[in-house]
Symmetry: C2
Subunit: 347 residues, 2 copies
Amino acid sequence: MAKVLGAGDVAAVVRAHGLERTLDDLIERLGDALAGFDPDALVTPLRDGFHYDHPQVGLLEWMPAMEVGRSIAIKTVGYHPANPTRRGLPTIMATTSVFDPTTGALVALLDATLLTALRTGAASAIATDVLARPGAVVLGVVGCGLQAVTQVHAISRVRRVETLLVSDVDDAVVKGFARRTAFLDRPTTIVPTGGLEDLLASSDVLCTCTSVEVGAGPVIVDGAHHPWLHVNAIGADFPGKQELPTSLLERALVCPDVAEQCRAEGESQRVDAGCLGPDLAALVKERNRHERSRDQLTVFDSTGWAFEDLVAAELLLDLAATYRIGRDLELQAPNPDPYDPYGPLLW
Amino acid sequence: MAKVLGAGDVAAVVRAHGLERTLDDLIERLGDALAGFDPDALVTPLRDGFHYDHPQVGLLEWMPAMEVGRSIAIKTVGYHPANPTRRGLPTIMATTSVFDPTTGALVALLDATLLTALRTGAASAIATDVLARPGAVVLGVVGCGLQAVTQVHAISRVRRVETLLVSDVDDAVVKGFARRTAFLDRPTTIVPTGGLEDLLASSDVLCTCTSVEVGAGPVIVDGAHHPWLHVNAIGADFPGKQELPTSLLERALVCPDVAEQCRAEGESQRVDAGCLGPDLAALVKERNRHERSRDQLTVFDSTGWAFEDLVAAELLLDLAATYRIGRDLELQAPNPDPYDPYGPLLW
C-alpha cells in the first residue's frame, strides 16, 4: 500500500496541525537532521533535469536523496515561469516519491509544491538564526512571488521582524504581497525597483527570491549596507543565474546549502571554491563557532537540497498518519508467483 | 487531474485489451517509434541510481526520457533480488511518472512492473525479427525468472518457436517455468546447468536473462553453436555484469539497445567501441540492410532504454482511456493566486 497525498491532502494536514506549528516543526526537524547529518549515511547525487524552450521555457528536475538503509525520496520539480500568468499554476510544482530501500516499493507519493516553499523557508530560517544578528528587525525582500511568503514567514519565526521592505519588477505581484502576508501583521513598505539601493542600505536581513533569467543578473547593485547584513539568496539555482553582485559576494562569508550544487548553480558560481564558507550542515553542527560571524556580511546560498525535501516529506507523512489524512492505494502489489509477470492478470 | 494506475489497474487494462493484443500492439508501437526515432527530439540522459548492500542488496534507479515538447516520463525502477524469496514481491518493481512539459504538472502515475517486462520482451522481439533467421524454431532460455516469460512470449510473436530449451540455477524456478508459459503451448525441455553447452549448440535463438552478480559471469561457456545463432542478452545491466563469454562477443555482431548505456552496463562493456553494431533504432530504420546479418552470429545487448518505457507508458495510458480504467486524482491543483503558497490552506 502506498500513501498518496495530493495538494488538497497536504493542505488538510497543514490545516489540521496548524500552519505555524507545521513550519516551526519543520524548522526544528530540519535543524535536528542537520545537526545529526552524517555524510556517509546520506547520498544526494547532483540533481539533473530537462530544460527546454518549447512549448514554453521550462525545467523539470529530479532530486534524489537516500538515507542509507532507511529511506529514499526522489523529488521531481518543475520550474515553469509562465505558469502563473498563463495557466493559474505555481511556477514551481513538485511531487515527492518515497521508496522502501528494502524492496524498492513506492511507499508514498505526495504533492511537494507547498512543502518545497516551506522547506526553502525553513532552510533560510536556520541559516538566518545562526548568521543574523539577534536584534535584526528590518527584513528586505527582493522578488515577491510565492517563495517570498515562506521566506518572510520562516525568518519571522527566528527573528523579531518589525518592518518589511519589499520590491518586485511586477507591480501587481508586489502589491499582492502585503495581502498574502497580512497574517504576519508586519508593516510593509513597497520599494520601487529604482530604490533597491535604499532597501539594501536599510535591511538587517535581505532575501532575494527572484526569477532572474540566466545571464540577466545580478538583481542587486552593490552599495552601502549595514556591516552585519545577512542575505538569503534563493533565486540562483541554475548555471548562469545570479542575484547578488560579485563584488558583494567577494567580501561576504558565503555559506552554501550544499557546496557542490551551489558551485554549479548558485551564487557560489562566482566565488572561488577555496573561499566558500561552511555549508548548512556545518553551520548547524558548529553553531557557536559560526555565530561569531553575526556582525559581518554573510550570504546563505540556497539552491535547494534533496535532503531538505526528504526531511520535509517525512514530517508531512508523520503528520498525515497522526491526522489520518491521505489515501491508501495499492500501486504495487505482491505477486503469489514473483516469477510470473502475468500472475496479476488472473486476479 | 492525474491518472493513477496501480498494478491492479494495469492488469485490468491488459485483460480488457487482451494480453497478446497488448503485446502485439506494444511491439508494433515500439517498432514504429524506433522507425521514426529522431535523436534531436528525444533526450534520455544516462540512468543513475542508488545501489546498496544494506538492509538487502538492492538498486533503485531513475530513467528519465523526454520527447521534446510532447511528453516527459521518468521511470523509477528497483532491482532487489531477495524480493521473491523473502517478500513475495518481484525482483524488479517500477513506477512511471508522466509529466506535461508545458507546466511541469504530473499527469499520470502508473505501476510499470508488468510494463517493464513487456517492453523488454518487445525490444527483444524487434531485434530478433530483424536479426534471427526466419526459420528459427528452437529457442534457448538461460535464466527462467520473470523476464524469461515475456522474452519467450514476445519472441514467439515474431518467430514460429517450436521448442523451448530452458535452464536455471534454481530447480524450483526452472520447474515452474513450464507452468508459467503453459499458455504458449510449446514443448519445453529442462536442460541441467551442466548441459548449457548442448543448449547453446541447439538454439536458433537464445535469451539470457539471469540475475548474474557483478563479477560472477559469464553464465554461458563458449562452444559450438549454429552459425546463425541470435542471442538476446538481457541480464547485464550494471558495470561488471556479464552473461556472455567475451570470445563469443568478439566474433558476433553486437547490437546495443542504446550504445552509451550498453558500453557502461551491458555486454558491450567487453566490446571495443569501434566494433559495436547498429543500435536498436538503426536496426529498425535500416531493417533491410541489417537483415543480411541473419546468417551470422548476432547479439542484441538489451540494458533497457527509457524511451521504451515512455512508449509503453503511452500505450497503456491510451488503452486505459479507451477502457475507462484508472483513477483520477487531484495530485496538484491550480491556485487562484499562484504567488500565494498558503492559498490552498483556505480551500
